[in-house]
């Protein structure tokens, strides 16, 4: 059973650098976590709210405490050992989910900070890295792995600098796989050498552009795919305006129905994220009318419901959430679960 500890004002529950296996919950009083920001060195004071957990990461991860936990006003603190916390969490999933969200945000944040410092020449760019990975597998006669990686390369970078070579290597890998099987036959890359190395140094790079017309899927589609993934990435960075610009181009070009459909949906998500409820509703209504079989229909209806709810129209919101539940498909799709929850919060079906 977790134990309640009583701490007087100005005492310290734990110091930075301490090793400790306790996870705390503030029950009464005031506690702050004091630490220096790793980027600026500035002293940060984080006030713990009553009912809030602290000391979770260092206890679960078994690494030293990262802050001083200082008591400002006499406090009662519940202390869990890690096994006690684990047992507690089994019946309190919501708390764990909340922590997961907090931690995943922290992870995203620190990862971005690290990325910012990593701007250096040794960092391999993802496109070249993927290609080189394929080369490695081809050279090692792991044909099916090479086939996978070059296939991925062409999916993500259909008009990429090394696309022509990737296409050729893909064919080589397929042929070798069919003729010899994995791990057998003459090493296909011993002769061909490494194209990625050449491309960096010599004129191989300048000959690459003629490849753009070659990939079977066609260059137009390729660019659309690339643009679409850029837009999704911008969306995830909350750069909605920029994402919308790209999505607009995809919709206007309209060259690949798969991406046009996706872009339509994401356009609406951007409008919603920007708080443009009316525009979001209008946009989604357009999709519902023109593409009633859109693969993301449940999500579309759910966001429309959310938009109405944001506008304060509970009746319409409910109607849309109910519609999500009436859609055919999996019972536990995310839209259905969210709609059910939303409907419950609005006072039932």
């Amino acid at each position: 059973m977790p134990k309640v500890g009583t701490y007087r004002a100005n005492s310290v529950i734990y110091f930075q650098g301490d090793l400790g296996d306790k996870i705390f919950v503030l029950q009464r009083g005031r506690v702050t976590l004091n630490y220096n920001d790793i980027e600026t060195g500035k002293l940060i004071r984080e006030i713990i709210q009553t009912g809030e957990f602290f000391g979770v990461k260092s206890a679960l991860g078994r690494y030293p405490r990262e802050e001083n936990a200082v008591v400002l006003e006499d406090a009662n603190v519940l202390a869990f050992t890690v096994p006690e916390f684990e047992a507690f969490s089994m019946s309190n999933t919501r708390i764990i989910i909340k922590m997961l969200k907090v931690f995943s945000n922290q992870l995203r944040h620190i990862h971005k900070q690290v990325e910012n410092l990593m701007e250096n020449p040794s960092a391999v760019n993802a496109e070249t890295g993927l290609f080189k990975t394929g080369e490695y597998y081809l050279r090692s006669r792991m044909y099916s792995q090479a086939r996978y990686v070059f296939g991925r390369y062409l999916t993500y970078y259909p008009a990429g600098r090394l696309a022509e070579q990737a296409g050729r290597y893909l064919e080589t890998a397929e042929a070798a796989l069919a003729r010899y099987g994995d791990g057998k036959g003459p090493a296909p890359l011993a002769v061909a050498q490494s194209a990625s190395a050449q491309a960096g140094s010599s004129d191989a790079a300048s000959t690459a552009p003629q490849a753009t017309a070659k990939p079977q899927e066609g260059a137009g589609l390729s660019d659309v795919a690339k643009d679409y993934y850029n837009a999704v990435s911008l969306f995830s960075q909350e750069k909605y305006q920029e994402a919308m610009k790209i999505l607009k181009v995809i919709l206007e070009t309209g060259s690949e129905s798969e991406y046009v459909g996706k872009a339509q949906f994401d356009m609406g998500r951007c409008l919603f994220a920007l708080g443009q409820w009316d525009l979001a509703i209008k946009h989604f209504t357009g999709i519902v009318q023109s593409a009633p079989k859109h693969p993301d229909m449940s999500d579309i209806l759910y966001i429309m419901g959310q938009s109405w709810e944001k506008k304060g129209d509970k009746a319409r919101a409910k109607a849309f959430f109910a519609k999500v539940l009436s859609m055919p498909g999996d019972d536990d799709s995310s839209a259905r679960i969210k709609a059910k929850k939303a409907l419950g919060a609005l006072g039932g079906a």
Partner: protein, 214 residues
């Protein structure tokens, strides 16, 4: 184990040797192993390095929580592998009914956050030699628990290559090679092709602390 019967539509099966995802590929899914073993590898220079072998009920690919970031390693099925595939949008559904998995993911995140913070500390050092020394301190802090018993006083043996150190320090291999040779000439480390011995870890601790700005 958790009740995952309702999640069959997330189920994927991979045959032995099949790649689940490749290093540098943009990733938006992460995986919970249900059966079979998964090899996590990285190609460093001309060698495929095994980073880990995972089995049920472990989670991998969780860095997909950072949308758009390329995969930092390749995941290959060792034998027939059954996984559940999730992404940022739907992981909450799985976690809701499966606190064990949520707790496991929570622990994975705490470790990743720590790793990244530690990495950040290395990268903010100005002195390139201190960066390299700090890489060894980081490895010592994270490997310490596993290597107990093998430690001989202040001496530490790290199963890393120059490329690995360069990777962690965010520096290019040639520069790291030069600086490591310098350390080696000073007899502070012993340099081998597949491992590096630090003669006195406390010497490195003092060195790094003296270079860290307050």
């Amino acid at each position: 184990m958790a009740d995952l019967a309702g999640f069959s539509r997330f189920a994927r099966t991979y045959q032995a040797g099949e790649i689940i995802f490749s290093e540098y590929e943009p990733g938006d899914s992460f995986y919970l192993i249900q059966a079979g073993r998964v090899r996590i590898t990285k190609i460093v220079g001309d060698i495929e390095k095994n980073i880990d072998i995972l089995s049920a009920p472990e989670i991998f690919g969780e860095m997909a929580i950072l949308e758009g970031a390329p995969r930092s390693a390749t995941a290959i099925a060792v034998e027939t592998v059954k996984v559940l595939e999730f992404n940022r949008a739907n992981f909450e559904i799985l976690m809701m009914g499966n606190p064990q998995i949520a707790l496991r993911l929570l622990k994975v995140f705490t470790k990743r956050i720590y790793d990244q913070k530690r990495r950040f500390m290395i990268l903010t050092l100005d002195d390139p030699q201190a960066k390299i020394a700090d890489v060894f301190l980081m490895l010592d802090e994270t490997q310490g628990a596993q290597n107990q018993g093998e430690e001989l006083g202040d001496k530490r043996d790290f199963k890393v290559t120059v490329d690995d150190v360069a990777h962690w320090a965010g520096m290019n291999t040639a520069e790291v090679q030069t600086l490591l040779s310098h350390f080696s000439n000073q007899r502070r480390i012993e340099l081998y092709s597949d491992h590096i011995v630090v003669k006195n870890i406390n010497d490195f601790i003092r060195f790094v602390n003296s270079k860290r700005k307050k």
